[in-house]
């Protein structure tokens, strides 16, 4: 599979400001603080893998980045804009520059796959002819060109995630947030999803924040790349110039417990981190 048009292969320009930046972000519910001062940043075209146990606050971080939740304290910058104190009306504009892949897909169950994928384009009043071609293009990208008229209930779990990815990338957003995209999927389907994310990174050049509790997903992104020439996923991080940066963040007790490269994580002697490596 390869992207079918030049529009899909155009990568985004790189600037010096971080695409995503968290500064001492705190968030709690019902008197219980879940995030206790989280600080990190992701440069453009960088991929951050958020690792952590269930309930460690990975999904909350993604929702905060998308402005779906507001922090109790701290600041969050997306493409240079402070979303932590932004009015909901202005947030809607920022969110149009973010693709969000929900854990269970969160597809609109009363709409067909094609309508789900085209949702943002309909909102933007894009002409119907253009919508059809773009929907077909992204459905081909996620290898589901035949599903356009199907309802989400007729798809398998893995197919729903792929449609969700297609829906997130239809407007070619510079940032994509993945919430446990392989959770509950078999290894083969998980691999398909990861290779899709990988292609999305190397073809579009998107900045990505991926929450997961599966270390192999992160290493898959760090140790493989999509080669546009051969149009295949190859082992290795790619050429020096085009090498995408992948960082790991490990959340523990509401704080960043570890931040570093895949190699640093792999060679860590820390007993807690080693539990992820088993």
């Amino acid at each position: 599979m390869q992207p079918s048009s030049t529009s899909l292969t155009a990568t985004l320009p790189v600037s010096n400001q971080p695409a995503i930046e968290f500064q001492e972000v705190r968030l709690g519910f019902a008197g219980h603080e879940i995030l206790r001062g989280v600080t990190f940043s992701a440069q453009e075209r960088e991929t951050i893998i958020l690792l952590g146990e269930t309930g460690s606050g990975k999904t909350l971080l993604l929702k905060l980045a998308a402005g779906l939740l507001r922090p109790d304290d701290g600041r969050i910058f997306i493409l240079g804009k402070d979303v932590s104190a932004m009015h909901e009306r202005d947030l809607l504009e920022v969110r149009r520059k973010i693709g969000f892949v929900f854990q269970e897909g969160a597809l609109f169950d009363s709409l067909t796959v094609g309508e789900n994928v085209a949702y943002r384009l309909h909102e933007d009043r894009v002409p119907e002819e253009e919508i059809d071609s773009r929907v077909q293009e992204v459905l081909r990208f996620v290898e589901l060109p035949h599903t356009s008229e199907m309802l989400p209930s007729e798809l398998s779990g893995g197919m729903r995630r792929r449609v969700s990815i297609a829906r997130a990338l239809i407007t070619r957003p510079p940032i994509v947030l993945y919430d446990s995209p392989t959770a509950g999927l078999d290894p083969i389907t998980s691999q398909t999803i990861i290779s899709l994310i990988l292609r999305l990174r190397d073809v579009y050049g998107v900045t990505a924040l991926m929450a997961t509790h599966r270390l192999q997903d992160g290493f898959g992104l760090a140790h493989y790349h999509f080669d546009p020439q051969s149009k295949r996923v190859l082992r290795g991080a790619g050429t020096e110039a085009a090498r995408p940066v992948t960082h790991f963040l490990v959340l523990r007790d509401g704080r960043i417990y570890f931040e570093g490269t895949p190699e640093e994580l792999m060679h860590s002697k820390d007993p807690y981190l080693q539990r992820f490596l088993i």
Binding site: L92, R96, I98, F100, F102, A106, F108, D109, R120
Partner: protein, 280 residues
């Protein structure tokens, strides 16, 4: 004082004390005030959204079909039999005084001022407020509402305003149809049971009505429509606790909207009678 280590452990295990009555009342008051505040905000925005774009007219038309056309069979059926039973109940009393011809007057006034709007409001609340709550509740628990927000769409504009607007348009129409069918039901019952001619019944039913009666009925429809749509949307969008929560929200939507319709009916009747008296 604990006599043995085991007793000491048991006492420690009991450490979190039960909240006092005052604390429970405080929590209850705070929760209720917060709920009322959230409901008021949702209701305010549902109307305010009409002033600015984007507007979802196709969604509004779809909802008009679901709420209006979908409710037509139950409204027609209940309207006809309510009119008929009104005639049977009142006609028997009027006949004792030889005033059976007054039946048309009383049935018409009752249907236009009171029974038409309130019965239609309650029926549509039972059918649509629950439907709205379960639909939006399911979307909420499956993160579809969050997905909508994540894609830059305001759920208040996309989900709430079309439903409120559709109900505001269709409930008065449904009530008008219900009243008309109710009068036909009353006419059939009076012809068959009281031996009053159809022309006499119809003439008296129409002549007794004044503009204030129609306005009273219409204003009630608008208020009831707003209540049942906003309560359904509020209950749906505030669902917590998965599918069980959706079931709870659905029940709550019917109960709350029905109670609010009945309570507001009393105040609206008093207000309408006061205004009619002042303006006449």
């Amino acid at each position: 004082m604990a006599d043995t280590p085991t007793q000491a452990v048991r006492q420690e295990a009991r450490a979190p004390e039960a909240p006092s009555v005052r604390e429970v009342l405080e929590d209850l008051t705070k929760t209720t005030v917060l709920k009322v505040q959230d409901y008021a905000k949702l209701s305010y925005h549902s109307i305010l959204n009409l002033a600015t774009g984007p507007r979802y007219m196709q969604d509004t038309v779809d909802q008009m079909d679901i709420i209006g056309v979908g409710s037509l069979p139950i409204v027609l059926l209940s309207g006809f039999f309510i009119g008929a039973v009104m005639v049977l109940q009142t006609g028997a009393q009027f006949e004792r005084f030889g005033q059976a011809s007054l039946t048309g007057d009383i049935v018409s006034l009752a249907l236009v001022r009171e029974l038409g709007p309130s019965i239609t409001g309650l029926l549509v609340a039972g059918r649509c407020s629950s439907g709205i709550a379960s639909e939006l509740g399911s979307m909420q628990v499956t993160e579809q509402v969050d997905a909508m927000r994540a894609m830059g769409t305001d759920p208040s504009r996309k989900l709430v305003t079309p439903r409120v607007l559709a109900t505001l348009i269709t409930l008065p129409l449904l009530t008008t149809i219900s009243v008309f069918i109710g009068l036909i039901g009353g006419m059939v019952a009076s012809v068959l049971s009281l031996r009053i001619s159809a022309t006499t019944f119809w003439e008296r039913a129409i002549k007794i009505l004044e503009f204030s009666d129609i306005m009273q009925g219409f204003s009630k429809c608008v208020v009831f429509a707003f209540i049942l749509a906003t309560v359904g949307c509020y209950q749906g969008l505030t669902v917590r606790g998965g599918t069980q929560g959706v079931g709870r929200a659905t029940t709550q939507a019917v109960v709350v909207s029905s109670v609010l319709i009945i309570v507001s009916d009393t105040f609206l009747t008093k207000l309408a009678l006061f205004l009619a008296d002042k303006l006449s």
